[in-house]
Subunit: 476 residues, 2 copies
């Protein structure tokens, strides 16, 4: 088995929070939902079709005389969700007199190049790449600047989180004539090739648990063997199914592997959303959810069944904080939602992020990075082969010092910081580390419980954005 | 009629000079001809085939301990021709201890992605774009650096002329992690959209003739009406055919239009190859060939037939300096050689360079830029539609100041300087103008008859290259 390095947590977040936040911010919802005709293949001329790319505009605070534009480089999901979960942009719009634009990434949300056929085969999926997405953004911005009165000379700043943060950084690198700068939040642009050790990601997850309660990461580390023991008999499988309140009972060793995978994804998700305040993601969660989870996982030396009962309590907090679920659905991390499909394809082509565990520096079962297995799986799934070195050739790997005006922010609690830029490269390629931050906490709305580190990070981010805007004005 | 803005002169040069120069430089020929497996579609994963990309290596002067690499970004033709016509690189190799690499552009020379089928239809032509070519170069350099012992940290400088110069500049803009700088000679990167007036190109051609002899450009300007008068009768057509020693006689007005077109291309070619010394291009030509041609074109007030007899003498000098041709072949400017085919396709897709004449500021018959006609023609020819704004979106148009380490050189006599960068943009985006230079004279071998301006230009180019190499060493 290999791990497809998907940003699973985000996927789970999708669908719910979007609407919740929409209600919470009703008075300041996006101004318009628009669709722009975008060329399906920017890099070839045989296919000359277009598709409707969705984008959202909020111009309540925009100064019409070339006030700046904050442009969210949409990533692997419905753009309304990103729009509603990037409160930071809403929070600074007034201060910067900025227009907000959220552009949906092709093949996600409603921006499907071939409608329902978009995922039907590798031929239809052929235009799902980061390069095509960046070209969409460039052409869209050009279009906005020529059609919105007063926007012709608006400086544009790219903002994105996670894969969207990678896109924001790459956008500035490849299209510096389009965006004057970029805020790349929690963007693991170095989680490729051998740029960073493949195990750091999981050791950060592990550290989050280690720091959140005595015995916590050890309990999880011990749980795998406990599951292995129990799943070797039918009675054990039955016990596991009932103890974990699984909607579909485990039938064999393969199912047990899925259980372990599901648990791993849960711990990873918790590390990503380990926010300092009550938040509504996949499920409503309390502040610092890992601390809450760890309250169940204090004693790693318990016997198998007691240990696993505690593990159940822990995941139950994550999946059933409201107490409404009658059973836990293990297939949830593998929901065949559109975004997940698209990201699987991207992970099978360009977005090859080596990941591994050793069970020593992390609390997971040891698993080497197995590119060949990935390649085979991708070929089976989509008929495509991943090209692991392409992203490095295209975006420069660690050799990016000739670029400028990018702020890379990373949360110390966020496993994705393993592949992020966490040290300044030059005066204008700047790293901001938020020790108490999980996955792009800085992009979220201001909150009274925000740790000081994220407040300072945001202040610094705003300062850089103002500098870029100022400089663009002077140059103009 | 519209003018397909092809670099016609270059096409004519191809094929002959290549071998001549090869002989002249026999003792310093390229070291190896190699083929690298390159991916046909860098920007999509459905097509996973590879093709053999040819490249030439000359490492006689290379310092094996990470000495620099001068990388010629091949343009629309056989790479051996470029290799043999870029004497400047050979001349500086020793001084810089540099390896020379000449990479062939896909779809030209022997680097045909689908062999003989490469030009069969728009499906096979789909991968002929500047973006794919740049990706080839990036991947090839990565490959060279990992496979050639001692080249891992070699700083690479991109060098190219004409379209190859555009590629060199764009390569540095898009892949600054691959090349530390670029020398873009006679690269009309602004001959797109409305960045420069569409008529400047032809007014430069006209000026070359105006400066080269009294009555010269006026004679040419008057020749069009003379042809129009004569071609209105069968006897006149016959007279034209015999006077111009045409291999195929003119039969109708359409043929007469072809004659005018052929003459125009001849004047343009002369402007491009108006070198200060005897040189062997399409035909062997004397030094300052326009001055020679203008000796026949002193009196613009002659009657139609006398004027056109002189025009024949002028073109005869160009096409038949050796005196060996028994007739002149008007189809020569439209030879269906591979390179020309490829460039036509590129002009029909990305490389949309508006051109126009007004007969006032230039010596040509007035002809407006007609995008719609181009588009129709392209659709008929290839089933594709040009996207005139794409190059601007992709490469930034005039808004390129955030890039660095590019020297743009332009010859004052070269019509392509109309679309070139002829003024410094920043400290490290530098323009060098060579007042007495035609099309990328600076890239040619040193010659005792070189004007001082090109000697100074080359010295400055070498200084910049040394700076880039020095800086790369320090950074490493």
């Amino acid at each position: 088995m290999y791990r497809l390095p998907i940003f699973v947590g985000q996927w789970k977040e999708l669908g719910r929070v979007c609407e919740l936040v929409k209600i919470a911010r009703r008075e300041e919802a996006f101004h318009e939902t628009l669709k722009n005709l975008s060329i399906i293949d920017h890099f070839g001329f045989d296919e000359n079709l277009t598709f409707q790319q969705r984008y959202l505009v909020a111009d309540q605070h925009w100064k019409k005389d070339n006030g700046p534009i904050l442009f969210y480089t949409g990533n692997e999901g419905d753009i309304t969700w990103f729009c509603n979960n990037t409160g930071f942009m809403w929070d600074v719009a007034e201060e910067l007199n900025a227009m907000l634009v959220f552009a949906e990434h092709r093949y996600y949300g409603e921006s499907l190049p071939f409608g329902n056929e978009s995922f039907s085969d590798s031929k239809h999926l052929n235009y799902l790449t980061s390069e095509q997405a960046l070209a969409d953004f460039a052409v869209l911005i050009e279009y906005l600047k020529t059609t919105i009165a007063g926007a012709r000379y608006s400086p544009v700043i790219a903002i994105g989180g996670s894969y969207g943060g990678m896109l924001a950084a790459w956008f500035r690198m490849k299209y510096p004539h389009v965006v004057v700068g970029a805020l790349a939040a929690s963007a693991p642009i170095w989680q490729f090739g051998d740029l960073v050790p493949c195990g750091t990601y999981f050791s950060i997850v592990t550290n989050d648990f280690k720091k959140s309660g005595t015995g916590c990461s050890e309990s999880i580390r011990n749980s795998w063997n406990a599951i292995n023991h129990l799943s070797s008999t039918d009675a054990g499988l039955q016990w596991l199914s009932s103890t974990f309140h699984l909607c579909s009972p485990l039938k064999n060793l393969q199912d047990a592997a899925l259980l372990k995978n599901w648990l791993s994804e849960t711990w990873i998700n918790l590390a990503m959303v380990n926010y300092p305040y009550k938040a509504d993601f996949l499920q409503p969660l309390p502040a610092w959810p890992i601390q809450e989870v760890c309250k169940f996982l204090k004693d790693p030396s318990l016997s198998d069944k007691f240990l696993l009962q505690n593990v159940f309590q822990a995941v139950n907090l994550y999946y059933n904080y409201s107490g409404e679920a009658s059973c836990l659905d293990m297939s949830e991390t593998a929901t065949k939602n559109l975004g997940q499909l698209g990201w699987y394809y991207q992970a099978c082509t360009e977005m090859v992020m080596p990941m591994c565990t050793d069970g020593v520096n992390d609390m997971f079962e040891p698993q080497k990075w197995d590119f060949d297995a990935l390649s085979e799986e991708c070929y089976k799934l989509w008929g495509v082969r991943p090209r692991p070195s392409w992203i490095l050739s295209m975006y420069g790997g660690k050799n990016i010092s000739s670029h400028s005006n990018i702020v890379f922010s990373n949360g110390g609690l966020d496993p994705w910081s393993a592949g992020g830029v966490t040290q300044n490269i030059t005066d204008s390629l700047v790293a901001i580390v938020i020790p108490d931050g999980a996955h792009h906490l800085d992009l979220r709305s201001r909150n009274p419980l925000d740790p000081k580190s994220v407040q300072q990070a945001r202040a610094l981010e705003i300062r850089y954005m103002k500098q870029w805007i100022e400089k663009a004005r002077r140059n103009h």
